[in-house]
């Protein structure tokens, strides 16, 4: 579904991603793991059209994504749940969710929005309870659910998530990752960026390990979970440092 070849991303003159290739097949949960600053989030930004400076090839359903702006990419079926949620705190939960369907509404696709809202609130019943509450008053976990719900309102086929576990209690993380499995089983394809490698690999089908802008390893999630290198990457230490300790 998503095929990336030789992607290089730049921030000014700095190359943040140094030519990586990866692929996401339909109905898979793929996780990208690695230390802070290894290029995982940059990759999501490039895929969702937020990063102008990249070269290489990003194909979605066989079509290149070069030159498309974020709304066009959302319309093609890719939604991003950004790092730090980025919800609109003064707006109600309901309005936040509705904003997720912005591209659909703009196209005149009002029909079905209520149905989508129902689907999201079935997935996260707590959001229904908080419907009229300003989003800023939600707990961290609820805000994350809202951010995922908002992304789902655009009816994506590929959902990108950037660090959904950040700052959340382990129980909430588990709950959110469980929801990702439910979504995958319903046919959604998911690309998940996580520093919490352990948790991410438990729900993922496959994973890629990033190290300073390059992929150094890939494999089935259970293989990576058992891998000593991954444990080192998860700890955010490089091989040399780990050996010396």
């Amino acid at each position: 579904m998503l095929r990336i070849r030789n992607l290089k991303c730049f921030y000014g003159r700095i190359m943040a991603i140094k030519g990586i290739s990866l692929s996401v097949n339909e109905k898979e949960i793929i996780t990208l793991i690695g230390a802070n600053g290894s290029g995982k989030s940059t990759l999501l930004e490039a895929v969702s059209g937020l990063l102008p400076g990249w070269t290489g090839e990003i194909l979605f359903d066989g079509e290149p994504l070069n030159g498309f702006d974020p709304p066009a990419i959302v319309r093609r079926g890719i939604s991003l749940v950004p790092e730090g949620r980025l919800i609109f705190p003064p707006l109600s939960v309901y309005d936040n969710l509705k904003l997720g369907a912005y591209t659909l509404i703009k196209k005149g696709g009002h029909a079905g929005i209520e149905q989508d809202l129902d689907a999201v609130t079935t997935l996260f019943p707590i959001l229904k309870e908080r419907f009229r509450q300003p989003a800023g008053t939600l707990s961290g976990g609820e805000q994350q659910m809202l951010a995922i719900g908002r992304a789902l309102m655009a009816r994506p086929r590929l959902l990108l998530l950037d660090e959904p576990s950040m700052g959340l209690a382990p129980l909430i993380v588990e709950k959110i990752l469980e929801v990702l499995k439910v979504l995958r089983d319903k046919g959604l394809t998911i690309l998940l960026v996580e520093q919490n490698a352990q948790a991410a690999l438990q729900v993922a089908d496959r994973g890629y390990v990033f190290e300073t802008g390059s992929i150094v390893l890939q494999g089935a999630a259970d293989e990576l979970l058992a891998d000593k290198d991954v444990k080192r990457a998860y700890l955010g230490k490089d091989y040399g440092e780990f050996d010396e300790n």
């Binding site: 095929r3 070849r5 030789n6 290089k8 140094k18 030519g19 990586i20 290739s21 990866l22 692929s23 190290e211 390059s214 992929i215 150094v216 390893l217 890939q218 494999g219 089935a220 293989e223 058992a226 891998d227 000593k228 290198d229 091989y239 780990f242 050996d243």
Partner: protein
């Protein structure tokens, strides 16, 4: 990836899978192995510049001599405490070749050998006997573990006389035998000489490895043992067995392309050859963790077959030819290099710069190394016992290093003309 998935992978997806794995292999090798990092830098290559599979042709080759020069652990790409198995094979110089496996590597080999055995029709109902030279001990282990993973009953590789080997074959009702062509031939001959009917054996499958065979040899063996014969290709000095295997079509060997990237190059110029042309087989590991090979020159002569296999499997096929492209002798699958033999001879015998002849002989169903050593004054002793002791001691040393039978004969020095 599951075997059934990889067998039917469309070419474009296979290409993507191989590219992803090649790039991460190069990144790991460059980050963790000085040798690879330095060589890439010397050639002005950044791993990020390898953007297609054919870009691999820009990378330098890895030769057997590199293994000996970086003895024992300098080519390992993981810390030693991640290594769970260390394997030694005869090198091309004084030093042996040492390779390592991580737990993940071992699991990969189990999958690969199980896949190859499955393609030969082996099932959990089979009794599988492994009869290989001690020099192929790692293949013995790979096959044993791969077969065990499938639930097959395995009779592991044990050094036995031919008589005992045959006894096990008959009495234990072995249904699948993994061995070398020479040994299979000898077992067939042994059965004929003993006057035993073919039906006394339960054998239905023979998997040959170590050396390639002709169609004629295969047909004759199939007739004499009433079996189906399959061929596997592996590397003896570095991991491991069943890198390529025959499918039910038995027309060329499918390469495990999810784990190895095959290339065919011109043996003299080193330039890549298109599919269909015969040259030297070069292999790059795509998933190996402990001991990555980047453009390893196997010395084996092969060609990539262009046509898709009628079996439907999309893994590329090679046709494997008998004559090597280098000066290494293949003795029942074990690589023997003259330089290494000289090192051993020089360390045990008082020999000078005179040349000795190396030949491949045959001894009770096993190929052996025959060394014709010109007699000289320093070797000569008027006590036959002393001379015998010296020669047998040297044979033992060579056998220990190579893992194959060795015979040394003293011959008359060649006259200088």
């Amino acid at each position: 990836m599951k075997t059934e998935d990889i067998f039917s992978l469309p070419p474009e997806e296979k290409n993507q899978l191989q590219l992803e794995r090649l790039q991460s292999t190069l990144n790991r090798a460059c980050r963790q192995v000085d040798f690879h990092r330095r060589r890439m830098a010397d050639h002005g290559i950044d791993p990020a510049g390898i953007e297609t599979l054919s870009d691999i042709a820009r990378l330098p080759f890895l030769n057997r001599a590199d293994f000996s020069e970086h003895y024992p652990y300098d080519l390992f790409a993981v810390p030693l405490r991640d290594i769970v198995r260390i394997h030694t094979a005869p090198g091309t110089t004084r030093n042996p070749t040492v390779s390592g496996y991580t737990a993940q590597d071992l699991s990969t080999w189990r999958q690969m050998t199980a896949r190859a055995l499955g393609a030969a029709g082996v099932t959990p109902h089979d009794i599988l006997q492994i009869a290989l030279n001690p020099g192929l001990a790692n293949w013995g282990r790979d096959y044993k573990e791969g077969a065990e993973e499938m639930g097959v009953s395995v009779i592991p590789n044990t050094p036995l006389s031919m008589e005992k080997q045959f006894m096990v074959l008959r009495d234990y009702k072995t249904t699948v035998l993994i061995t070398t062509p020479m040994m299979a031939d000898y077992l067939a001959e042994y059965r004929e000489k003993s006057g035993l009917h073919r039906d006394t054996l339960s054998l239905h499958t023979v998997i040959l490895t170590g050396e390639t065979v002709t169609g004629e040899f295969r047909r004759s063996l199939e007739e004499r043992l009433r079996v189906k014969v399959w061929l596997h290709y592996g590397l003896s000095d570095v991991p491991g067995a069943a890198i390529a295997f025959e499918c039910k079509t038995r027309d060329g060997l499918h390469v495990n392309e999810d784990h190895f990237l095959p290339e065919i190059i011109h043996p003299e110029t080193g330039s890549p050859l298109p599919a269909g042309q015969t040259g030297e087989l070069v292999l790059t590991t795509l998933t190996t963790r402990a001991f990555p090979l980047i453009r390893f020159r196997t010395g084996d002569r092969a060609r990539l077959l262009e046509e898709t296999c009628p079996c439907g499997c999309t893994l590329a096929r090679i046709e494997w030819y008998a004559h090597r492209t280098d000066d290494i002798m293949n003795i029942d699958g074990v690589s023997v290099h003259g330089r290494q033999v000289r090192h051993t001879l020089e360390s045990t015998l008082p020999i000078g710069p005179e040349t000795f002849d190396l030949r491949v002989g045959c001894k009770e169903g096993r190929k052996c190394l025959e060394v014709d050593l010109p007699m000289n004054n320093t070797i000569f002793s008027d006590e036959i016992k002393e001379l015998e002791r010296l020669l047998r001691g040297t044979e033992n040393r060579l056998r220990e290093n190579l893992g194959i039978p060795v015979m040394i004969r003293l011959v008359e020095p060649k006259r200088r003309s």
